[in-house]
Symmetry: C2
Subunit: 231 residues, 2 copies
């Protein structure tokens, strides 16, 4: 596949340069940016909504929503009174730094502590694209199966934290949590794994532990003042 590499490299180089610009801008404003990766339907928007509920008393939050088409996700965020910018990639399976730059131009950076980026639903393409974020995290949902670290190793390797969502359905799908943790641990020993339920009847399960982890990350970048999470 040398043909592909030769073509992709210039795109990635340009992307990285713009990502560095994004990062410098965010650093200047002491804003922490989180890039959330997952398959379609893994629960990205629900997880972001649960995270907003846990952190909004302490931090000023905005969301950048990446989708092939539609603005249903950014509408859900805006309904919570949180600024949200929708990016429609029109076919591209990942966000790029240039798109993030345009979104940052729209947001009021003087009034934010954290920006959560919901990337396009995809376990493959977004992995290679640095956007200027402080961390990438990923969500795997239980119905997708415990064998996914073996099949999509790249995304598990770039994630600073792995959220295992929909753990209320572990039995329905015969999901082997022990095997999953072992395989993730082998690919990425530094990644913290958070079992959660983002939505539904048991919605909120595990969200406190995850939010405390994220809060501590933001705290390191912000002007301090301690971490508190609404439970």
């Amino acid at each position: 596949m040398t043909r592909e590499v030769a073509i992709e490299q210039p795109i990635l180089d340009l992307n990285d340069r713009l990502a560095a610009d994004n990062r410098a801008l965010l650093d200047k404003h002491k804003i922490y940016m989180l890039d959330v990766l997952a398959s379609p339907g893994a629960g990205k928007t629900s997880l972001i909504l649960a995270t907003i509920a846990a952190l909004r008393d302490r931090w000023r939050i905005a969301v950048i929503e990446g989708d092939i088409a539609s603005d249903v996700d950014s509408q859900r965020i805006k309904e919570q009174g949180i600024p949200a910018v929708q990016i429609n990639t029109g076919g591209a399976c990942h966000l790029e730094s240039a798109m993030i730059k345009r979104a940052l131009d729209i947001l009021n950076l003087n009034e934010l502590d954290i920006i959560i980026v919901e990337n396009v639903g995809n376990l493959v393409c977004p992995t290679d694209f640095y956007l200027g974020e402080d961390a990438k995290v990923m969500i795997l949902s239980v119905p997708e199966g415990h064998d996914k670290p073996l099949k999509y190793p790249g995304v598990f390797q770039v994630a600073k934290a792995v959220l295992l969502n929909k753990i209320d359905t572990l039995n329905v799908f015969n999901f082997d949590e022990r095997q999953f943790k072992e395989d993730v641990g082998r690919l990425n020993p530094q990644a913290t794994i958070f079992p959660v339920v983002a939505a539904g009847e048991q919605g909120g399960k595990g969200i406190t532990a995850w939010s405390q982890w994220l809060c501590a990350q933001i705290e390191q970048k912000s002007s301090g003042g301690g971490c508190s999470v609404r439970q």
Copy 2:
């Protein structure tokens, strides 16, 4: 995004030329090729295994497995005594015609009626790549949510049939089947929708209707002889 289009176009042109070669080779051998698209964990391999069980008495089947990494899927197919070729894309989020060509070189085309291609788990990238197949079909699984046609319209538009898998979990995930069918119908009025359960306790549900549809498609290309499906 003119930059992207300019770079992608030559790849797609080359891909289409090689796809036409694949198709001519398949036509010569009266082999029907099916390209199966879905997200990671939607149940592609399980659906293919259920389809093999339904059709193997009538047709000679082979499978081409596309994965970023690992050969667990092709191992599952081979355990059933079915020829399977594993393609590891090493990062690429879709199969291309050149990869299929290499797989066709390995298979014994004189002894086959249908080749099922399991594309890389992804609702976006494989959509644009014609491989020489007779039809693309897609699987959406209930846990992914009924809003996916709005967010990933492209894949629903190219699919000749849409399999809705894991319908034994409709209630667990508040999946609105009526809304889903309405949205798919708007994007692609020609697509047939098959509600199925590919694996688990209720595994096999809906597989007969789907297999009969597929059998009729193969029949049109083969030397005839009627369709029968093991129930």
